[in-house]
Symmetry: C2
Subunit: 390 residues, 2 copies
């Protein structure tokens, strides 16, 4: 096991009707907040009214900013930063999925910073302070509700870049599975793929002693495999929605990554895809991950056999371990397809004309750098993966 | 899944030589500390010198109090409280196992309290504030290094009582698996039993939807089953020690208990045993837990079949589920015996003369109350379990 430091301060308030506690929870931190959310669904569902009512009841004044969209935009982040500064706001409440939360996190580090917030995402600067962020989660997927990460898209260059920093962990997050009842089947499936990807990025490691975290990863994967199809078929199944919501949160708070190196190549490759084509991140991952696996599994067949056996209950072919490894990859791909996800770029109407550009961006323009902790991948390898994914 | 709130603020600093960071970590909170530890092993091993050196280097002044012993005593807690008050100390660093840590936690709530600290353990009062506590862990067992719990023994009446309160979570805990290399085989095994008991108290639930946490519990149990015997046989196996240490910490921070009711009858019964006989808590649990299982398994055979199948890989006998359930219980008992633990009271030289007294104490003198969330047990049931354990 590798040395590590782990601390997750986010207070999770989980359960039916939990959003009604939001006012009291915010009031413990601030008397004024920015209320940030996405499109109309939060208003249509009545969630906005309940949150606004709870804030008012607790005496919390708020300024609102809607409009967060999937692959959240830098332009809106800048707008939010100005709004906070103008109104002297020190607390941001994000109501929505990963987009609203990631956007709120970017604002939180941007407000006290003298330069441009993109500096943090381009790697030019490291945040020294941040406003407090809290969340009311409506989409189990990004895990941003208790993670130290945020991903923002800069339309200038179709760049989607991430920032990881302990300051970004929300102070509290409210998780009510009922709020996910209205999620369409496709978005539910995309969320499941995103959650599974967060686990698999950690599962595929070169660290040899990682028994406990391996088993935690397998537990989380099996929970999603078992419950996500139920959510797709029975959108109002509280229990299945609850399992996915809680597993999705734990999947990305980095407990499952403690003491091990991690991969993250598939996420980086997918960021180039959704940065250009604006597809759902989870859908992109459902396409990229199996392709990545097909390209890299020979670098550690045993690990893929473990994945096939423990996660998918595939009987090991002791005469042909590679066959077992491939059966595990096929099981993953079939699972994604079974819940209505694309498994090829063409399923998302993405052609082959910009594959080279994506491989370039992924490895820092010149193409000299490598990505991935499990198997270092250069520009050529990434292009190969994108071609497998065609 | 049941509604829940979960927050674990403890910062875990895990890895080889991690104790050398202790001075810097304490200095972030206080310039003066009480250094609390157990017997001579901390000094003999050189750990005391490294911790003291690190504190001095960081400019942290300290007053020391040794003498914490297994089933830590109220008398020493009172001594520590006086010492802190006299020296104006606001921070306690516990170096040792659960006993030193639980003792430090009791001092932490006792110092700012006007009344007698036992009030918190007897249920007469609830702590409103506490000093900060941090730990350098040397025994993976109690899980106190990131739990909100403390258990103290009051020699006046041989009473062993617990307190659970979020204020008791350590601000940081240093976990270096190397510090456990010198743990004797028996103590290592006792620790493993304690860890498994913490998981099983949560695993045996009446909550029907608990898929994710079930799987997390199974992951943690399998980690201990796989690695504890290695630690017993190869005390300096870093990897196995690391797995047990990390799993033992997560086992009791209550992540594994989120969203479900829990049992805790076996712990309460064991507290009466070690409160009187001063046996190792883990050894007492190895005796009580299988006896508890034999008494209660018929109230939910399916859950015990799941335990047998998923944790112990026992093939399910679909013609006789009770047989499968019993095979799981036998597997647990055999496992405890295989790592050198007692599985009967007589193995610990405990006779039958005080069984009634223990059953009385467990159910509040009069014997009218019941304990246990999985199956409520009255005085008669507890006596039956103690008799099964003879």
């Amino acid at each position: 096991m590798e040395n590590f430091v782990f601390q997750n301060k986010t207070k999770i308030i989980f359960g039916a009707a939990a959003e009604n506690q939001v006012g009291a929870e915010v009031a413990a931190f601030a008397k004024k907040a920015l209320l940030h959310f996405g499109g109309g669904s939060v208003k249509k569902s009545g969630l906005y009214d309940r949150v606004a009512g709870s804030l008012k009841k607790a005496g919390v004044e708020f300024v609102e900013l809607g409009g967060a969209q999937p692959n959240p935009r830098l332009s809106l982040v800048r707008e939010g930063i100005e709004l906070c500064r103008k109104n002297g706001i020190k607390f941001i409440l994000a109501v929505g999925g990963g987009s609203a939360i990631d956007s709120a996190k970017a604002m939180a580090v941007g407000v006290p910073y003298g330069g441009d917030v993109w500096d943090f995402y381009s790697g030019k600067a490291v945040p020294a302070e941040a406003l407090d962020v809290a969340t009311v989660l409506t989409i189990p997927a990004a895990g941003s509700e208790s993670s130290p990460s945020s991903v923002i898209t800069n339309a200038d260059g179709d760049l989607k870049r991430g920032l990881t920093c302990e300051l970004l962990r929300p102070v509290f997050s409210i998780l009510n599975p009922e709020l996910t009842f209205t999620l369409p089947a496709y978005q539910t499936a995309c969320g499941a793929a995103d959650i599974m990807a967060h686990i698999m990025e950690r599962y595929f490691t070169t660290t040899k002693c990682a028994d406990f975290t391996d088993r935690l990863c397998e537990a989380a994967l099996k929970t999603i495999i078992h419950n996500a199809p139920v959510c797709v078929k029975e959108p109002k199944n509280y229990d299945a929605r609850a399992e996915v919501m809680w597993a999705g949160c734990v999947a990305h708070n980095d407990l499952l990554g403690t003491g091990r190196n991690q991969d993250w190549a598939s996420h980086q490759i997918e960021h180039e895809i959704s940065g250009i084509y604006d597809v759902a991140h989870g859908a992109g991952l459902a396409v990229v991950f199996p392709a990545w696996m097909k390209r890299v599994f020979r670098s550690n067949v045993n690990r893929f056999v473990q994945f096939a056996s423990r996660v998918w209950n595939i009987e090991i072919d002791f005469h042909n371990q590679e066959k077992t490894a491939l059966a595990g990859i096929a099981a993953l791909e079939n699972f994604f397809a079974s819940i209505g996800l694309p498994t090829r770029l063409k399923d998302m109407d993405i052609g082959e004309d910009r594959l080279e550009e994506m491989a370039d961006k992924c490895t820092g323009r010149g193409g000299a750098a490598t990505i991935g902790g499990f198997t270092p991948l250069n520009r050529g390898d990434i292009l190969e993966i994108l071609k497998i994914a065609r």
